[in-house]
């Protein structure tokens, strides 16, 4: 459509903005549920071993404490790995909360105390005494480096001959970098409210990036197919922490099933450190170039930590085979299992730490060759993803470098380290390239124009602050020629049309495409409806000869126009649903998003 009145590309206020600034946006722990009980988690204080005894007598003696749930009295759960494997599961055997007496990591949930108030639950949880048979543990990646095994990742095969090219090159650098564990810590702690329905069905308010992922997980783990609906209309940040169902969710479900009551489990900020996180890594970068700085050889080897029960992998070293032109590339990736929880995707998983290491090594190489760091990147610029041997569908990195350098004033940068001072402060200037994938995943959406001419578009996606509500409203308004105010987009409900996890920067391309396609179906239905009348001025028209603008369906010739509201007042509400998969046309191309970062630091 993209008419002059289209909201696409316009700087609009977020459609959910007024709800968020007035405190009316309702997050997971905030649903108003009658008769709610409150759960508090008892966490393990050892990293590895076995529970020998859980003494809950003092907790249970308190008036108002309803349940102390442990592996000994929990409801039945699935006994094979497969039911626990969610859409973002790592290879291996997923963690099962309260499954048995094994302690696999420090902070593992060992019991849930359920009481009539949150304060009482938390106090009672502090009275639960857990006795252990403690085993020796290892949580230090540095100490476990030698135990690392090959990561189950599909790395590109080595290309060219790294060893010979590295040995023969005029300039070489060999660097090692370490990156620490990082926890997602969204502002909103993870929380679930399980609303126990009269028929035993569960209506669940959860903090998640995928309501259908959590729904499937629970249906499988608790054998409750068709009895679970998960809602997440507002998510107070996630950064990846909501990609997998977190343990407060199954714990709340267990308690609700056991008590036949509604239960809320909200993690404390301290407990936000007791599940997935960005893994600690060690990375070795070997780069070689000729005298002019053209890359001759790249080797990038990484060791990341994982748990003893799952092999977590991310795209960590691949970037070194695709960001610059180079014929001799060798990539390696190993994992060292520790007595810790499995890492979890977090904000550009893998790229954040892998590209960091590559870009630091590129700076070292620029210094070694004696050329400007930006010039080094330009000399090795490529429009082809060397890992795939495919040309990028588009890549504007060169213009990005140029614009960034001009706006930052890169030309002011002296080449000599420690040469720029302001009084006692040293000033450093640096730059780096950024890259991420440009993915699309299968997604569905439904568009319904009600008899009052209001458009409701739905999909089971999420808005974790990323603007999904607003972006989808824009896309739908544009597709139907309606104003933003005439369109409502609904998400965060597992009963809505299928959507992938909201992650990987793929939601607009995935769900947005489904919204567009659903609206195209709705346009056809509106045209069919006006053509029902024998004397319709639209007889013989098709979607190519009509347009949807300013709330009207009209012939492109301008001869006839009819408000959409008038059409549905006669036909009744009209609805169309669409599912969209990535087009095969994508296969011939490499896709990616690139960026350049410039920074000035004073120390």
């Amino acid at each position: 459509m993209n008419s002059a009145n289209s909201p696409l590309g316009k700087p609009l206020d977020r459609v959910d903005g007024p709800l968020k600034v007035t405190g009316k946006a309702c997050y997971a722990a905030e649903a108003d549920v009658p008769g709610l009980l409150y759960g508090a988690v008892v966490s393990s204080s050892i990293a590895r071993g076995r529970i020998t005894r859980i003494d809950a007598v003092a907790a249970e003696a308190l008036s108002g404490v309803r349940l102390v749930l442990t592996h000994q009295n929990r409801p039945p759960v699935a006994s094979y790995d497969e039911p626990y494997e969610d859409d973002d599961a790592a290879d291996g055997s997923p963690f099962r909360p309260l499954y048995n007496d094994r302690v696999l990591y420090s902070g593992q949930p060992l019991a849930l105390v359920v009481a009539e108030t949150q304060a009482l639950a938390r106090h009672a949880a502090s009275l639960v005494r857990v006795e252990y048979e403690v085993e020796a543990h290892q949580t230090d990646l540095q100490a476990a480096r030698e135990q690392a095994h090959e990561a189950p990742a599909e790395l590109p095969e080595p290309r060219g001959d790294f060893d010979s090219a590295f040995a023969a090159a005029a300039k070489r650098v060999d660097c090692e970098y370490g990156t620490p564990v990082e926890h997602h810590n969204p502002m909103e702690p993870h929380a679930s409210i399980v609303q126990y329905q009269p028929g035993g069905e569960l209506l669940i308010h959860d903090k998640t990036q995928g309501v259908q992922n959590c729904q499937r997980y629970l249906e499988q783990v608790f054998d409750m197919k068709g009895k679970i609906r998960v809602l997440a209309p507002f998510v107070g940040g996630a950064f990846g922490s909501g990609l997998r169902p977190q343990y407060q969710l199954p714990l709340a479900v267990m308690a609700a099933l056991k008590l036949k009551a509604s239960v809320r489990v909200e993690l404390t900020r301290q407990q936000m450190f007791t599940f997935g996180y960005r893994p600690r890594t060690f990375q070795q970068l070997k780069l070689a170039a000729d005298g002019e700085g053209r890359l001759r050889a790249i080797e990038h080897k990484a060791i990341g930590q994982t748990s003893r029960f799952e092999d977590f992998t991310e795209h960590e070293v691949e970037w070194s085979g695709m960001l610059y032109a180079c014929d001799n590339v060798r990539l390696g990736y190993r994992l060292a299992p520790l007595d810790v929880y499995t890492p979890l995707d977090m904000r550009a998983p893998g790229a954040t730490i892998g590209v960091y290491a590559l870009e630091c090594a590129m700076d070292e190489l620029a210094h070694e060759v004696g050329i400007d760091p930006l010039e080094l990147r330009l000399r090795n610029y490529t429009d082809i993803n060397g890992n795939e041997g495919k040309r990028y569908s588009s890549k504007e990195l060169r213009a990005c470098y140029q614009q960034g350098a001009e706006r930052f004033g890169w030309s002011r940068r002296p080449a000599q380290p420690r040469s720029l001072r302001d009084g006692h402060q040293l000033i450093g200037m640096g730059m780096a390239t950024g890259v991420w994938e440009a993915m699309q995943m299968p997604a569905s959406a439904r568009a319904c124009l009600d008899a009052d001419g209001r458009l409701l578009v739905t999909s089971a996606t999420a808005d974790i602050g990323t603007g999904t509500y607003t972006a989808m409203t824009q896309i739908a308004a544009d597709a139907m020629g309606l104003s933003m105010a005439e369109v409502e987009f609904r998400l965060g409900d597992s009963s809505l049309p299928q959507a992938p996890l909201e992650g990987g920067s793929a939601t607009v391309s995935s769900v947005g495409s489904a919204v567009q396609r659903a609206c195209a179906g709705l346009r056809q239905k509106l045209l069919d409806a006006v053509q029902q009348s024998p004397a319709s001025p639209f007889t013989g028209a098709n979607l190519e000869t009509v347009e949807f603008v300013d709330g009207q369906l009209r012939l492109k010739t301008g001869e006839h126009a009819v408000p959409l509201r008038d059409i549905v007042q006669v036909s009744g509400a009209l609805e169309a649903e669409a599912s969209v998969k990535p087009d095969e046309k994508r296969d011939a191309w490499a896709t990616g998003t690139h960026s350049a970062v410039f920074v000035e630091v004073r120390v």
Binding site: D13, V21, T22, G23, A119, R269
Partner: protein
């Protein structure tokens, strides 16, 4: 891991302390209530008054998501007990605007896109309202410094700063007119 393991906490729970009758003016309405001495102002608002606009981010005074105005001054509601404030007047995000229109800070936060997930937003806005009343931030650096108790994990800081900078003159004008 849990913080509530102190002997005092255990003793108080077993002896069953009396609830205390207090009155609070919450968003202009007088409320009489009976609360146990350990109930924080934050839990009182969220769990008993159904005012969930005030957020629980950390529950130990590090993030500022629970900021409310207590007798016009900003305070972390997770770090203070309700019984300490008998007779006080409390303004939360729900009571910031006097009518259906947005408070100038709320409007500025929307206009400048000063949030993403929105979870820190009520605390940011209440904190900024408190800052305006303190009348001590005039430069951008001063606004940054005096808003440093409110974290935003989405990283909307530049837009939060722009929103506050935009709304401050309006707020000071309103005060001058009073």
């Amino acid at each position: 891991m849990d913080l509530a393991t102190s002997n005092e906490a255990r003793a108080s729970a077993t002896s069953g302390p009396e609830s205390v009758a207090i009155s609070l003016i919450i968003n202009g309405k007088l409320r009489h209530m009976s609360v146990e001495p350990w109930v924080t102002l934050l839990d009182l608002l969220r769990e008993r008054e159904d005012l969930t606009g005030t957020k629980k981010g950390c529950d130990h005074g590090q993030c500022g998501a629970c900021t409310v105005l207590l007798d016009g001054r900003r305070i972390n509601s997770c770090l203070t007990l309700a019984v300490m404030h008998d007779g006080a007047s409390l303004t939360t995000i729900e009571g910031l605007a006097s009518d259906a229109t947005l408070h100038p800070l709320q409007a500025a936060f929307v206009k400048h896109d000063a949030f993403q997930c929105g979870y820190c937003t009520p605390g940011q806005i209440c904190s900024a309202a408190g800052l305006a009343a303190e009348n001590r931030a005039s430069s951008r650096d001063e606004i940054r410094e005096h808003m440093s108790g409110n974290l935003c994990r989405c990283g909307a800081y530049p837009n939060i700063l722009a929103a506050i900078e935009d709304a401050l003159p309006t707020l000071r004008g309103q005060e001058g007119a009073q």
